[in-house]
């Protein structure tokens, strides 16, 4: 039966976009079956639109044929957000990858969703401008995907996440209309809803983004610590002293050894934890701020302090930090990254709990995280051929999320909920909280075709959610 529906959809998609833009052979579809999470499922079709008009045609066809729509950027998402768990049509933005305009005078750019994050900063550089959010995946992840997950990155500490940088969004709604919504225009701020909605409210076709002036002075410093809890206590002390550097990142020994073997950036190999501090601003101010931070860090037991002001040295340190997840491949066949946030002063306790949980499950854990934001990324290492280890990783992951919630935190700082964490969402939000989100979903996605199975808990849990009468019960499954 699925095949019959599939062939009708294929015909209509080919009619609308041309055969070159439509993939339906299983061998072609295999690459669209999964993202960086371990859930895979073949779609009925993958399409490569060129512009908003193409996307509108796809959305109309999908709605007429009741096919789910799964938007896909670079597939770097860690929570299965781009996984076509119910089949349907995957929309790849590989061909919508143009920077449509860059307005240096007004410090803004309009991009298609398939533009790679780093490309925008490169394009801004000759004008003295850059784009703030810089997820570690920025060399491959797309601005559309970044918007869909409200991505952050190391510099979110001072520059904020995507929501603080999106000025306007063009999207295709459930009726196939192309709409443009700007943040501060009169009316409800629909863009705030679309950012971080993981493709469940519509398909984004263009984004207006704010650019920032490249700071005149940037200093990157590295401090070594005897243990990761001391390093995180130093981070809490820096923030508590009212200093917000542009980035505060921690890597533990496991991670440092893996990245050094690969990148040779000069991180101290004998340290149990390394703190990376970036300070940016006016030259006179950054020097003074560095001195204050160094004092605090030494008071909190730093074993060494190294300052890198040369661009090449700084870039090497950052490249290694951002390549950390990849470098883990050297020491474990598989790894699972968790993404949770706690109030920053709770970091030492959170790390202590992560360590306890990993030990209890006999797992090796590496910690590389956005410490300044209280955003943890424990990496649990395992071998997926050993089912016992897989079970332990899943159990430990959930326990870590619970521990962070108990400390006043939440279950995602920047990766989103996707497919992976949807059953965990009710630990954070009450039935009424979720039903309020359901009211929004019901308006944008009455047929439930925009990226189903994402964010919200599955039927079993959803059955317990009190859905207000104005919302049809099935609208947000």
């Amino acid at each position: 039966m699925k095949t019959v529906v599939g062939s009708r959809v294929r015909e209509r998609l080919v009619d609308a976009l041309g055969a070159d833009a439509v993939r339906t052979e299983p061998e072609d579809l295999a690459v669209y079956a999964f993202d960086a999470y371990c859930e895979d499922s073949l779609p009925s079709a993958a399409v490569l639109p060129q512009d908003a008009r193409d996307v509108a045609a796809i959305v109309r066809i999908a709605h007429e044929c009741d096919e789910p729509i799964v938007p896909r950027g670079a597939g770097t998402g860690l929570c299965g957000g781009a996984s076509p768990t119910r089949g349907g049509i995957v929309i790849s933005f590989a061909r919508m990858n143009r920077i449509l305009s860059l307005d240096a005078a007004n410090r803004r750019a309009r991009v298609q969703p398939g533009v790679i994050n780093l490309e925008l900063s490169k394009k801004g550089q000759p004008h003295g401008l850059f784009f703030g959010p810089d997820p570690s995946s920025q060399k491959i992840s797309t601005l559309g995907g970044n918007t869909g997950t409200n991505a952050g990155g190391p510099h979110a500490l001072s520059y904020g996440s995507m929501t603080n940088h999106v000025l306007a969004i063009e999207f295709v709604d459930a009726t196939g209309e192309v709409r443009r919504v700007a943040r501060d225009d009169p009316g409800y701020d629909l863009a705030s809803l679309l950012i971080g909605s993981e493709g469940t409210l519509g398909v984004i076709t263009a984004i207006d983004l704010r650019l920032m002036r490249i700071p005149p002075s940037i200093r990157v410093c590295v401090a070594a610590f005897g243990d990761v809890e001391a390093a995180s206590a130093a981070v809490s002390a820096i923030i508590g002293a009212g200093i917000v550097p542009t980035a505060l990142e921690i890597m533990d020994r496991t991670i440092v050894q893996a990245v050094e073997a690969h990148y040779h950036a000069g991180y101290p190999l004998d340290a149990s934890a390394v703190l990376l501090v970036e300070i940016a601003g006016e030259a006179d101010a950054t020097v003074a701020r560095e001195r204050r931070i160094e004092t605090i860090v030494r008071e909190h037991g730093a074993l060494s302090w190294r300052s890198a002001s040369e661009p090449a040295e700084r870039d090497a340190l950052w490249a290694a930090r951002k390549g950390a997840a990849g470098a883990i491949g050297r020491i474990a066949p598989n790894y699972y990254i968790q993404d949770a946030t706690v109030p920053r002063t709770r970091l030492p306790q959170a790390l202590h709990r992560v360590d306890e949980i990993a030990r209890a499950h006999h797992l090796t854990v590496g910690n590389v995280f956005h410490a300044g934001d209280g955003n943890l990324h424990p990496l649990l290492m395992f071998d997926r051929r050993d089912l016992k280890q897989v079970g332990a990783v899943v159990a430990a992951g959930t326990e870590i999320l619970r521990a962070c919630i108990d400390l006043g935190g939440t279950i995602s700082g920047e990766h989103g909920i996707g497919y992976e964490k949807r059953e965990t969402l009710p630990l954070v939000f009450s039935t009424s909280d979720l039903a309020t989100m359901g009211r929004v979903r019901g308006v944008f996605d009455p047929k439930g075709l925009f990226n189903p199975d994402k964010i919200f808990p599955s039927g079993a849990v959803c059955g317990e959610v009190r859905v207000p009468q104005a919302v049809s019960a099935g609208a947000w499954l």
């Binding site: 307005d103 005078a105 007004n106 409200n150 991505a151 952050g152 996440s161 929501t163 603080n164 709604d173 709409r179 443009r180 919504v181 501060d184 225009d185 009169p186 009316g187 409800y188 701020d189 629909l190 705030s192 809803l193 909605s197 005149p216 809490s236 009212g242 601003g281 006016e282 006179d284 101010a285 946030t341 109030p343 920053r344 002063t345 956005h370 934001d373 209280g374 006043g408 279950i411 995602s412 700082g413 920047e414 989103g416 909920i417 969402l425 954070v428 939000f429 009450s430 009424s432 909280d433 039903a435 309020t436 989100m437 929004v440 979903r441 308006v443 944008f444 207000p468 104005a470 919302v471």
Partner: protein
């Protein structure tokens, strides 16, 4: 216990031609939820009122039975100053929030007008945009979580007490700017910033002939100001001095050496542009900014209407010229605040005597909206509210907004008719 005041005056609570029958001031979130639920069931229309400082926004509601005040919900709930986060009740005033934060050397750049009366909930619900947002972001950027009471009395939260969050829909930011038409904000969680070491205002007279050049020079400064406003008029509202020639107001915030360097550069830049004298002051810099922001919503009795035109900084002067020529054509007096960093133009048009405004603005208002997109009214005499296009042209996604309104407030209990497209 909730306090109920019967037969309030139209002077205090009236909007357009309607005045509520009673004013209810609940003492707790639960009481507020119960009041709202009862009104919703009884078909009574409710307008949320914080400090009442921005009630001038929007159309007059089509029905108005109850003014629901949030002012008794004014507690600081959690101040985790070491985390740089704070959670407050929505009825707390902006200045009380500011004072609490200042004790720990922190701030949130809400830039609220009439901060001593305006409430945190009102600032967020009104979608208020101040001059420092180019540097720091708007109030919405500092919101990390909210609790709202919906029309049916359901209490729902969104976001949390962490500074980075991708957990579920970001309803907290979505509520900003919804003007109390979706629910009643009762709690807001914010991230805070460390206060700048130094704050300095530079104020200079700017004769017309020097204006363009001065602006070019200011744009080239390598230390970015926190605000740059070119002001014509508003003399009584700002410092009582003659402002007719036009003035430039710059605010620098940051580390001491940076602010010092910025001042030196500025002096030489303005000097080169032919600006005769620059006054600098550190003490009272915050107060000067506050007075200037207050002026955005000060009305000259029944003689003036103030508009905000939004757009790109690069076409700011062009928009100002359009406004000026229309004002001149309709024989309206014009005072301006041009926000160089955000592109906002605040334009106050007025007549010398009461009674002339109605006719002249009746011609001016449609012409202005026809000439410029994205113009809304910040304040106008109550009698004129019904005659002006308060929000400008309806947004293209209006049907979606209507659908959202009907999901959140199916009985149109909350400020019916007040928002864009008479939502």
């Amino acid at each position: 216990m909730a306090v109920t005041q019967r037969a309030p005056t139209s002077a205090e609570f009236g909007l357009g031609a309607v005045t509520p029958r009673r004013v209810v001031t609940p003492a707790s979130v639960e009481e507020l939820a119960a009041t709202l639920r009862e009104c919703d069931a009884a078909g009574e229309a409710v307008v949320v009122v914080g400090g009442g400082t921005l009630q001038s926004l929007g159309h007059a509601p089509s029905r108005y039975d109850v003014a629901l005040r949030t002012t008794a919900l004014a507690r600081i709930l959690e101040y985790e100053y070491r985390d740089l986060t704070i959670a407050v009740e929505a009825g707390l005033t902006a200045s009380a929030l500011d004072e609490t934060l200042a004790e720990r050397g922190q701030f949130i750049p809400l830039d609220a007008p009439n901060a001593a009366r305006s409430t945190v909930g009102g600032v967020l619900a009104s979608g208020w945009l101040g001059p420092r947002r180019a540097k720091y972001g708007s109030p919405r950027d500092f919101v990390i979580g909210t609790t709202i009471v919906l029309a049916d009395g359901v209490i729902a939260k969104a976001g949390g007490m962490v500074v980075k969050n991708s957990t579920g829909y970001d309803l907290s930011r979505f509520y900003c700017g919804s003007l109390g038409t979706l629910g009643v904000l009762v709690r807001a969680n914010f991230k805070t910033l460390p206060s700048p070491e130094a704050r300095r205002v530079a104020l200079a007279t700017l004769p017309e002939r020097t204006r363009r050049r001065a602006m070019e020079h200011v744009a080239g400064l390598d230390v970015e100001p926190a605000a740059v406003l070119a002001i014509a008029g508003f003399a009584d509202d700002i410092d009582g001095r003659d402002g007719l020639e036009g003035r430039i107001f710059l605010l620098f915030e940051g580390a001491v050496p940076s602010v010092d360097r910025a001042t030196r550069q500025l002096r030489s830049a303005l000097g080169a542009a032919g600006v005769p004298e620059t006054t600098l002051f550190d003490a009272g810099a915050g107060k000067a900014l506050a007075r200037l922001i207050d002026a955005y919503v000060i009305r000259l009795g029944d003689r003036s209407v103030t508009y905000r035109s939004r757009g790109l900084p690069s076409d700011l002067f062009e928009r100002t010229a359009t406004i000026a020529s229309l004002a001149q054509r309709e024989a309206l007096g014009l005072e301006l605040i041009e926000d160089i960093c955000t592109g906002d133009v605040i334009a106050r048009v007025s007549t010398p005597v009461t009674g002339q405004l109605s006719e002249r603005i009746g011609t001016f208002d449609p012409l202005l909206h026809a000439s410029l997109p994205n113009v809304s009214v910040l304040t106008a005499p109550e009698a004129l509210r019904g005659d002006l296009a308060m929000w400008g042209a309806p947004p293209s996604a209006l049907e979606m907004m209507r659908a959202i309104k009907s999901r959140f407030d199916p009985n149109a209990t909350l400020a019916p008719g007040r928002f864009v497209g008479k939502i």
